[in-house]
C-alpha cells in the first residue's frame, strides 16, 4: 500500500523528485497524453456521477507512470482549505511555481515556467495563472465540511443542476457555483480554466485532494452507497458501465471497479494504514530499549505506537523501583532516574490507564496519573514508603519473582552455553542477565535491610 501525502509535508527532496518525474513524463510525451485524455473526454468525466471514478482512474495511471520514472514518488495532494493563499509553499519556485504576471498571466518561476524551456503546453502557449481574478478566495474548511456531510452520493437526474443536492454535484462545485472543485480551478485561472487544465501540473495535486475527499466521504458514510446510480444515468455513468475512452480501447473500467482506493494499491496519509506504527514490543530478542530480564524491542508492526511488555501489561516504566531511560546492559548505567532502592511507581498495584501509556513525564522520572510523587533521594523515598504501608513487602515479593525468572533464564542460557551453540548476541545477553541478577539481588538486599530497621 502506497501512501499519498499532503504536499505541505513533503521534504525538499520529495518535492524535487516529484518535479523531476513530472518533467521526465513531459519530455517523453506521456504527460501530454493526459492533457489530451482530459480535453477529449469531457462528457465522460464531468457534470455527472462518474466525475470521481473517472478522475481516479486518470490519476492512478498518471501516478503509475510517475513511479515508472521514480518508484519513490506518489501523488501528493493539495488541501486548498489550509494552504489557501498565493504565498502558500505549494507555489514556491522549488515546486509548482507561482502566480502569473499581471499582463498575460504567464508564470515566470519554477520548473514549469515556459521560459525555462521544459514546459511547452499541449496545444501551444505558456503556463498561465491568474490567482483570485475570477474567484476571490479558495473554498473554506466549512465549505468542504458541508460538502462531505452531504448524502447521498448523487441524485437524479445526475447532472450539474444548480439545485441538485448530492455529494458529487456539491463537491464538483455546480451548486450555486463555482464552488469547491470548480472554484479551485477558477481561483487559479489561466491554464487551469479550460478543459486542457492538466497542462498545469497543479491539476494533479488538486484532483488528488478531490480523490481523497471521495475516500473520506465513503469513510464518513459507511451506510451510504459509495457510488450512485446503478442505472438511470447517461451511458458511462452507471455503476457497472464501462467508461470512455478506455472502453473504446478494449478496457473495461467501471465506476464499480474504482470505488475502493485501497484495492487500487494506495491510501492517504490521514488513514490509519499510513500512520506511524512503531511499537515497543517484548519478544525476548533484539534491540532492547530497557532491558532487564525481558527484552523490550522497538518493532514496527502497525498500527499504533505503544510500549508492550510480554506480561500483558502495557507500561512506560518498570515497577521494580528502577525507572530507567537507558538500558544498563553492556556496562553502562545511564538512567533517567536515580536507581533508588525503593519502588517509585505503581508497585503491587494493578496497571492503571494513566500508567499504561507512554508519557514523557514518566520517561523523565516524574509520576504520571495518580501514582505517588517520587522523591529524588533514598532518604525521601524512605519517607514516602512509610506513607504507603506494605509497599516494601510487595516490592520484595516482586523482586523475588523477577530474580526467579532471571535465574531461570540464566540457567537456560548457561545450559546452551555448555552445548556450545550460542551466538555472540546470546552470550552478550547471558552476561547482561547475570549482571541484572546481581543488581536485583543488591536492590533486594537494600530493601530487606530497610525493612529490618
Amino acid at each position: 500500500m502506497r501512501c499519498r501525502k499532503n504536499q505541505a509535508t513533503l521534504t525538499a527532496q520529495e518535492k524535487a523528485r516529484f518535479v523531476a518525474a513530472v518533467l521526465a513524463l513531459k519530455a517523453n510525451g506521456t504527460y501530454d497524453q493526459y492533457v489530451a485524455l482530459h480535453v477529449n473526454n469531457m462528457p465522460s468525466a464531468h457534470r455527472a456521477p462518474a466525475f470521481f471514478p473517472w478522475h481516479r482512474e486518470m490519476l492512478r495511471r498518471f501516478e503509475l507512470d510517475l513511479q515508472a520514472i521514480d518508484s519513490s514518488v506518489t501523488l501528493p495532494y493539495w488541501n486548498w482549505t489550509v494552504d489557501n493563499t498565493p504565498t502558500s509553499s505549494i507555489w514556491n519556485s522549488d515546486f509548482m511555481g507561482g502566480n502569473g504576471r499581471p499582463s498575460d498571466g504567464k508564470v515566470m518561476d519554477g520548473a514549469f515556467a515556459f521560459d525555462n524551456g521544459n514546459w511547452p503546453l499541449f496545444g501551444g502557449g505558456f503556463l498561465a495563472r491568474r490567482f483570485g481574478l475570477s474567484a476571490a478566495t479558495l473554498p473554506s474548511a466549512m465549505d468542504l465540511s458541508n460538502a462531505l456531510g452531504t448524502t447521498p452520493y448523487d441524485v437524479s437526474p445526475y447532472n450539474d443542476g444548480s439545485s441538485l443536492a448530492g455529494f458529487r454535484n456539491t463537491l464538483e462545485g455546480w451548486r450555486n457555483g463555482p464552488q469547491l472543485h470548480n472554484r479551485v480551478h477558477v481561483w487559479i485561472g489561466g491554464s487551469m480554466s479550460p478543459s486542457s487544465s492538466p497542462n498545469d501540473p497543479v491539476f494533479f495535486l488538486h484532483h488528488c485532494f478531490i480523490d481523497k475527499c471521495w475516500a473520506d466521504w465513503q469513510a464518513m458514510h459507511p451506510a451510504e452507497s459509495p457510488y450512485l446510480p446503478v442505472t438511470g444515468a447517461p451511458a458511462g455513468h452507471n455503476l457497472n458501465d464501462a467508461m470512455q475512452p478506455w472502453a473504446g480501447q478494449g478496457q473495461t473500467i467501471t465506476p464499480a471497479s474504482l470505488v475502493s482506493h485501497h484495492a487500487l494499491g494506495y491510501a492517504y496519509d490521514t488513514e490509519g494504514v499510513c500512520q506511524p506504527t512503531l511499537k515497543l514490543i517484548d519478544d525476548g530478542g533484539l534491540k532492547p530499549i530497557v532491558d532487564t530480564h525481558i527484552t523490550l524491542k522497538l518493532v514496527d508492526d502497525r498500527p499504533t505506537l505503544k510500549i508492550i511488555d510480554d506480561g500483558g501489561t502495557i507500561k512506560a516504566v518498570d515497577d521494580l523501583g528502577t525507572i530507567k531511560t537507558v538500558d544498563d546492559l553492556g556496562g553502562g548505567t545511564l538512567k533517567g532516574f536515580d536507581d533508588v532502592k525503593l519502588p517509585t511507581f505503581d508497585i503491587g498495584m494493578p496497571a492503571k490507564p494513566a500508567a499504561d501509556t507512554i508519557d514523557p513525564m514518566a520517561a523523565s522520572g516524574r509520576p504520571v496519573g495518580n501514582a505517588p510523587f517520587v522523591l529524588a533521594t533514598p532518604h525521601h523515598s524512605m519517607a514516602w514508603a512509610e506513607t504507603f504501608p506494605g509497599a516494601i513487602e510487595r516490592a520484595l515479593a516482586q523482586l523475588d519473582q523477577q530474580l526467579a525468572s532471571l535465574e531461570a533464564m540464566a540457567a537456560e542460557l548457561e545450559r546452551r552455553s555448555k552445548h556450545g551453540d550460542m551466538t555472540d548476541a546470546e552470550r552478550s545477553h547471558l552476561d547482561a542477565v547475570r549482571r541484572e541478577v546481581v543488581g536485583i539481588r543488591d536492590e533486594r538486599e537494600a530493601l530487606a535491610r530497610y525493612l529490618r530497621k
Binding site: 497524453q33 493526459y34 489530451a36 485524455l37 480535453v39 477529449n40 473526454n41 469531457m42 464531468h46 495511471r61 499581471p102 499582463s103 498575460d104 498571466g105 504567464k106 499541449f122 496545444g123 501551444g124 502557449g125 498561465a128 491568474r130 481574478l133 475570477s134 437526474p157 447532472n159 450539474d160 443542476g161 444548480s162 462545485g173 455546480w174 457555483g177 463555482p178 472543485h181 470548480n182 472554484r183 480551478h185 477558477v186 485561472g189 489561466g190 480554466s193 479550460p194 478543459s195 486542457s196 487544465s197 447517461p234 475512452p245 478506455w246 480501447q249 478496457q251
Partner: protein, 102 residues
Amino acid sequence: MKNMGTGASHGAKTHYVFHGRTVEVMRPSAGDLANARDDKPAMGMLRIDGRDVMYEQTDEGVYSHELMYQRFSTPEALAEELVRQWGTHLPPPLPMHHEHND
C-alpha cells in the same frame, strides 16, 4: 460594454468592444434553444479578436470548454470572462480530438 448588435433572437449576431477586444456573439437559433436539453445543448460561438470559441447553452446556462468550470448566464458574460483571463495574450485554440494512447 457597448452593445452594437441587432438584439434579434433567431441566430442573432452581436458584436461589441470589451477591454479593447472585439467580441462577436453568434447565438444559437431560437429553435435550437427551445429544443436544447442537458444531453443535447444548443451550440453558439464567440469570436474574440478573430479567435473562435464554441459554447453550449441549455436552460441551466452557458458553458464552454474554454472556461469549463464555470456556468455563465449569457454568452457575453462568458466572453468578458475570457477577455479578462487572457489579458494581453490570445491563447491558441483548444486542441480537440487528440486521442490518449495507453
